[in-house]
Structure formats: C-alpha cells, structure tokens
Subunit: 346 residues, 3 copies
Amino acid sequence: MPMTAAELAAYLGGELVGDAKANIRGVGSLAGAKPGDLVYVESEKHLPAALASPASAVLVGSGVFVRDKTIIRVAHPKWAFARAAALLQPEPPLLAGQHPTAVIHPTARLGENVAVGALAVIEENVRIGRGCQLGAGCVVGAQVEMGEECVLFARVTLYRNVRLGNRVRIHSGAVIGSDGFGYVQVEGRYEKFPQRGTVIIEDDVEIGANSTIERGALDETWIGRGTKLDNLVHLAHNVRIGRDCVIAAQTGISGSVGIGDRVSFGGQVGIADHCRIEDDAVLGAQCGVPSHKTIRRGQTVWGTPARPLAEFKKFYPLVARLPELAARLAALEGKRAKKSERVKES
Amino acid sequence: MPMTAAELAAYLGGELVGDAKANIRGVGSLAGAKPGDLVYVESEKHLPAALASPASAVLVGSGVFVRDKTIIRVAHPKWAFARAAALLQPEPPLLAGQHPTAVIHPTARLGENVAVGALAVIEENVRIGRGCQLGAGCVVGAQVEMGEECVLFARVTLYRNVRLGNRVRIHSGAVIGSDGFGYVQVEGRYEKFPQRGTVIIEDDVEIGANSTIERGALDETWIGRGTKLDNLVHLAHNVRIGRDCVIAAQTGISGSVGIGDRVSFGGQVGIADHCRIEDDAVLGAQCGVPSHKTIRRGQTVWGTPARPLAEFKKFYPLVARLPELAARLAALEGKRAKKSERVKES
Amino acid sequence: MPMTAAELAAYLGGELVGDAKANIRGVGSLAGAKPGDLVYVESEKHLPAALASPASAVLVGSGVFVRDKTIIRVAHPKWAFARAAALLQPEPPLLAGQHPTAVIHPTARLGENVAVGALAVIEENVRIGRGCQLGAGCVVGAQVEMGEECVLFARVTLYRNVRLGNRVRIHSGAVIGSDGFGYVQVEGRYEKFPQRGTVIIEDDVEIGANSTIERGALDETWIGRGTKLDNLVHLAHNVRIGRDCVIAAQTGISGSVGIGDRVSFGGQVGIADHCRIEDDAVLGAQCGVPSHKTIRRGQTVWGTPARPLAEFKKFYPLVARLPELAARLAALEGKRAKKSERVKES
C-alpha cells in the first residue's frame, strides 16, 4: 500500500519537509534501504547515514533540520517507523481457513475467522476466540481457552487447561503448561509432587521460540498483560509476573518467584525460588538472585549474587586490580619486615 | 473420589484429630484451598495460614497440636499430601486408544493398552511396552525400544535406537538422541566426527520440556534410574548420570562427564567436558566446573570456577568489600608516605 | 561394508603394520570396541587401552611404534577414523521417498530425490534442492529456499522466507526465522517493532536440537559457511556470523552482534547487543561480553565481563585468597595501631 510522503506524515502526525509527493512503498534499515523506503534515525550520529542512503524519506525527532532529503519530523521516530511499517507492509496473515488435515475434536468451539494450519491438533472442549491463527502442527490440549486474535506459530504446544487472553503471540516450539519440577524426597528417591495447577496468560503477551512455561503445582503460573518473553526462557511453577515486563533470551525464573510491573531482565539471568522482584527493577544480563531475596523497586542489579549496579561498579573493577593490591600489600609488609630486621640488627 | 477424613488418615497411616466424618474431595494450596480440600504444612510458620484457610483437613507432622481444625498427623506431611493427591484427584490419562491419524509403521510392535495421540509417528521396528501413552505429534524413530507405562507428552522426538525403561515421562518438545557436537578440525574446517552411539534412559526418569539429550558418539549417553531433569537441560554425548539425581532448568553438561548417584544441580549450572561429579554432590545455581575437574563425594560447590561452599562463603563476601580493603591499604601507604616525608624532613 | 586392514590403510593413505588381512567391519571406542572394530588414539596415554582392547586395528599418529597389534599409521588419526567410519558404517538415510501423509503445497518445487517424512508440512512457493531429506513433522514456511542435500531431522520449523545453502543439517526442534525480540517503549508499554527480515544460512552449517535463530528486523540474520551450532543456542535478530565458527550449547548471542571467522564459543556464553567478535577469538564457557564491546582477533577471553585469559589468570586466583590478603592487611594495621598506642603510652 504505497502512499505519498505527505499522506504518511499526516497519518503519523508528523511535519513534512521536502518532497511531499515522494512515493513511499516500504520501510528499510539505514544499511539496506532502497528508493521508495522510509528509514528513521533516533540519534544525531546516524543522521549522515540516513541522508546518504537511497531512502525516499527519513523519520527524525524534533529539532532536527536537514537539507536535500525529505524528512518527516515526529516526537518519537522509532515508534512512528513501527506504525508506518504496519501500514505500508502489513504482516501477512500466518494462514487462512481451516486446513483439512487439522484434527479438531468435535467438542471444540472455534470463533469466527479462526485459522487452523495443516496437521494442527485441537483436543476436547477447547474454546478459541474470534480471529485466532494456529500454525501448522500446533497441539492445543483439552479445556484450553484462548481469547481473540491470538497467533500461535507452527508447532506450539499448550497443555490442558491453559488460558490465554487476547492478542497473545506464541512462537514455534514454545511449551506452555508442562509439569512443574516438584518432587518429594522419600528415602533417597524423588516421588512426584502433584502439578495440577495451570497457566494464565493475559492480553498482549508475546512468548519466544522454544520457551517453556510450567503449570502451577496447585495454583497458577501467571503472566501479566503486555509482558514479552524472548526465546528459550524458562518460567517455573507458580511464578507470577506483572505487566509490561521484558525478559531476554535464556533467562530462567524458579518456582514461586513474584515479579512486579515493568521489570526488565537481560539475557541468561537466573532467579532462584521464592524471590520477589519489585516494580521497575532492572536485572543485568547473566546476573543471579539467590533464593528468597528481594530486589527493590526501581533497583538495577548486576552480578551473582546480584547487587545494586552502583555498588557493583565500585567493587567489581577492583577484582581485576587484585594483583596490584596484593603487590602493594607485599611491599608494605616488605618495608616493615626490613625495618624489623634493622631494629633487631641495631 | 471423595472420602472421609478418617478413611484418608487410615490410608495415609496417620492419626486423625477432629472431625472424622469431614468430607475430603481434593487437595489445595494454603492460599487457594476451598472447603473439602486437604492442605499440608511442613513448618510451624505456615500453621496459622493452614488453620485460617477454609480447608477441611490439614496434614501436619508429629508433635503438632491444634484446636478447632481437623488434622491428620503423619511422619512426612508433604509426602502424605502427594499420596493423597494421587488418590483423591488421580491424573487423568493423557489420552486413550490409538488415534486414526497416527502413522504407525507396520513393523512396530505395540503392547497392550498403548495409547497413541493424533498425528504421532512411529517408525519401523519400534517396540513399545504395555500401557505407554504417546501424545499428539510425537515422533519415535526407527528401532526405539520403550518399557512399560511411559508417558511422552505431545511433540516429543526420539531419534532412532534410543532405549527407555519403564515409567519414563518426557515432556513436550524434548529431543532425545540427536547428534553429539563432535567434529574434527581439518585445515581450519570442521568435519563431522561419527555420532553413532545411542541414549539409554532407565526406569522412573522424568525429562522436562524442550530438554535435549545427545546420543553417544560411539557408545551410550546414560541416565540412571529415578533421575529427574527440568526444562531446557542439555546433556552432551557420552554423559553418564547415576540414579536419583535432580538437574534444575537450563543446566548444561558437556561431553563425557560422569555423574554419580543422588547429585543435585541448581539451575543454569555448566559442567565442562570430562568432569567427574561424585555421589551426593550439590552444585549451586549458575556454578561452572572447568574441564576434567572432579567434585568430591558429598561436596557442595558454588561459583565459577566452582569451589566448596564453605570456602566460597569465606572469600566471596570480601569481593564486595574490596573498596574498603583498598582504602585501608591506601591509608597505610599514606601514613607510611607521610612518615617517610617526615623522616626526610627531619 | 567390511574390508581388510590393508584396503582400509590404502583408502586412508596410511601405513599398515601387522595383519594386512585383518577384517575390519566397523568402528568403536577404546572402551567399547569389539573384534572387527577399528579404534584410534591421539595421545600416547591412550595407547595401552587401545592395545589391550579387542579391536582388530588401531589408527595411530606418526612416530608410534607398537608390537602385537595391527596398526595403521596416519598423519591425523581422528580425522582418518571419521573417514573410516563414514566408509565402513555410512549413516543410514534419515528416510526415503515422500510419505503420503506429508502435506506439500502444490506450488512447492522439490528437486530430485527429495525425501519428505510423515506429516511434514511444506507451504506455498517453497523450493527444495536435489537430495534433501526432511524428517517427520517438519514445517517449512512459505517461500523458503533450500539448496541441495540438506537434512532436517524430525520436527524442525523454518519460518517463511528463510534461505538455506547446501548440505545444511538441522536437528529436531530447532526454530529458524522466528521474530526478533524488538519493541518500542511507548508510554510504559511495549509496541512491536517490525521483524520483517530473514535468515540466511550458508553451506555446511549444522544447527543443534532446539536452537533458535531469529530473523532480522529489517535485514538478515546470517550464518557463514561451515559454522556449527550445538543445542539450545540462541541467535538474536541481525546477528552475522562468519565461517567455520563453533558455538557450544546454551550460548546466547544478542541482537546485531558481528562475529568473524573461526571463532570458538564455549557453552553458556552470553554476548550482549552490538558486540564485535573478531576472527579466531576464543570465548570461554559461561563468559559474558557487555554491550558494544569488541573482542580482538585471536584473543582468548574468560569471565564476566570477559577479559583476556592471561589477565584473568593473574587476578582471578587472588579472589579466593582474599581472606588471606585481608588478614595480612589487618595484621599490618594492628601492628601500626599497637605502635601508635605504644607511642601514646610512652
């Protein structure tokens, strides 16, 4: 759906400077843009690359003035770019209709315009809301309930009873609702502790490829509205996550951890059981939080065991300076030893 | 299958105090219990919550005395609770019968009461023992042998020749028997080293969602009886694990590592190749063991490179105190410097 | 395909010493070899085990002389062993023909001798080159292009548009081309940033089970010729990897990281966004590289934040010696304090 730069500026609520009739057909990166593309810059340092690119228009922030290039000035260039991309090159639907090879239990209830891919399996008493798309090879367990306009890419597994809100997106290979890792140790053996709870995922959550979300042992594992999980993330049983959190790849969160709203996790973070992570906390990549600890509201932490970043920055560089500190200590000891010798000698 | 508190106490070998006729219909958590539920407490601190809950009976340990609540006193409340849960709310079978869309090779031999889900694939010469359940979309490679009463949840993959004992449970997305990561470096390129071995999994092993177990290069990768793996665990080729170990999520164990019995791994542990982890060792979350190291019998280790916990606790807190140590060192140097100056001045 | 020791030596370009007519039927490990097997030794310390084994012949390096055992002397015993294994026990084809239950879109174009397993799904406009094998349950998205002789084991997912070269091997559960983890934060919520790029995988790449490769946001994620990824590896959007790299299990590489040729990654390594890892670098297991850092050509690094190994080895052992350093510091202070007291007292 191509449009003129002027039309696009109007749609984005931005101010056009340059060729109002420039034909915009798509979006591009600074490195890969072609004529007809829109690009964006967020920082001054990328501006020369944008101006030099063959892109037909550049989204820039307020206060940016350039010549010889069509620009659209907006408050938030990256967000305007994302909106423009959705308008100019809307994501094609994953699929349409119900493939004849899909295996849909007669008791399942599917809303209007639900698309089901080849060889997907929908078990008994499942309810799927209007406009959902289920990719090829998905397995949706008995009694699962999904809201509207969810997208399950190919080969997603939902165990029985799992509940999804609206517009939940789940990538291939993700497994939602498998047993929690709970056992009772009896005479040296591990006997299974019941894993009978479920998983509740609120609206607008996105879950990355091959991530795993365990069902609660007796209650629920819970993911709040708008929270985003990257690939290969692990959430254990009874974890409760608030709204608008982001969790980068390969992070693991142990059983019964409670997480507030707007918390950010770097990649490969590990949170041990029963921790509490308060609103707006930031956990640096690879950090580790030991059992039962609390990370306070708004705190940024780093390292294992995780400590406030300001503190971490004070002590951690000294680790690499230990040889120097040890040498200085030895020097002091040497002077003292020499002096003692002198004293003894005198 | 509801029963009276007295019947349940008799089944569990416990001592009933309170309303012998209380009707028990299920199990609950302290936070989520409803009337008719059984709950349990393991430590005194949770007793008030249990007494305040609407649960109809509470499993408690010996030496606990309460009023105004029906209790069942047992030696091991958590274990009694797990047994009660299995009795009151038995896990429904994953599925029953053989779905007509399953693709079962005519040479495969399935025992009595084997259930096979929709669109599962069972390749040639597979043997599956009595009472196994294979979920939708599983792929069982040629020559696989499975014992009795195994449960494969949806979308499990077993590569050819893999052998499972009895009552093995494998969660969705797990891959058993893929090639080990072995190459020969020849003139700067990596050429494939043969990965022709297999995987042997003994009785009562449970494997979490999306975990990966590589086949041996020439011999076997081996998991001993009763060992439990959480989600996203990686076992490389030729790893040998003993009995009754627990391995928490996202732990990775490199090639040819040998592990004894009753070893516990926290989450995100990394063991490099050819290590030996002796019986009853405990490896703290995120710890790392370098190549060819041995962790001694019964030792608890922490950190990277992993060290005995007692030792770790002595030195690690000092890392955060490095600024103080450095300041004290500088103070000593300063005094000495001043003194030297005074000496020179005098 | 059994052969004599002399024939095998001739094939491998090696020098036979011993029983030229010894019948060689397969390959074995030092621990598991049977009569008729070929084994190999790379270091002198394993030679006694090889001589004691029932193997019928031993591949050894130049300069090794033994009695009472048939040996084949070659320049590179491990590589010769891999070649012998491929000759004596060629890997059986994963499958043959196109299974009637595979769902192949009529617009897909498959080359000669392409094998497609049961219940695999091939979507519209896919092109698959000669001799490729696609295991049971694979899902190949629209517009995917694959070169020749690729092997996709069971249950691999390729999202739309992904491009593979020749002889690419991908293990079960791997997901190639899922969305990158990119959002725009707008008034506290995360809005989706377009993930419209793709993934390009060159010839001779192997990808382990349950690994995840995200598509580029606007351009490509790229894996160079001959690079090998182990299981559960994560590559984020816009990562570019050169040729002949090896990446061990559970390593995660964040967005827009650029990696040169012949780089080696240990297991569980984490690379933050926009790093540059130059040719021939070596990253130790579990190390972490912070955002925007460069690891120089040929450098070996360790720890988090990653530092050159030589430096790391100097300072890291001192961490465990901190109690001793602190005690020595306190001793110095104590002497000084006592002396001050003496001074005051005097």
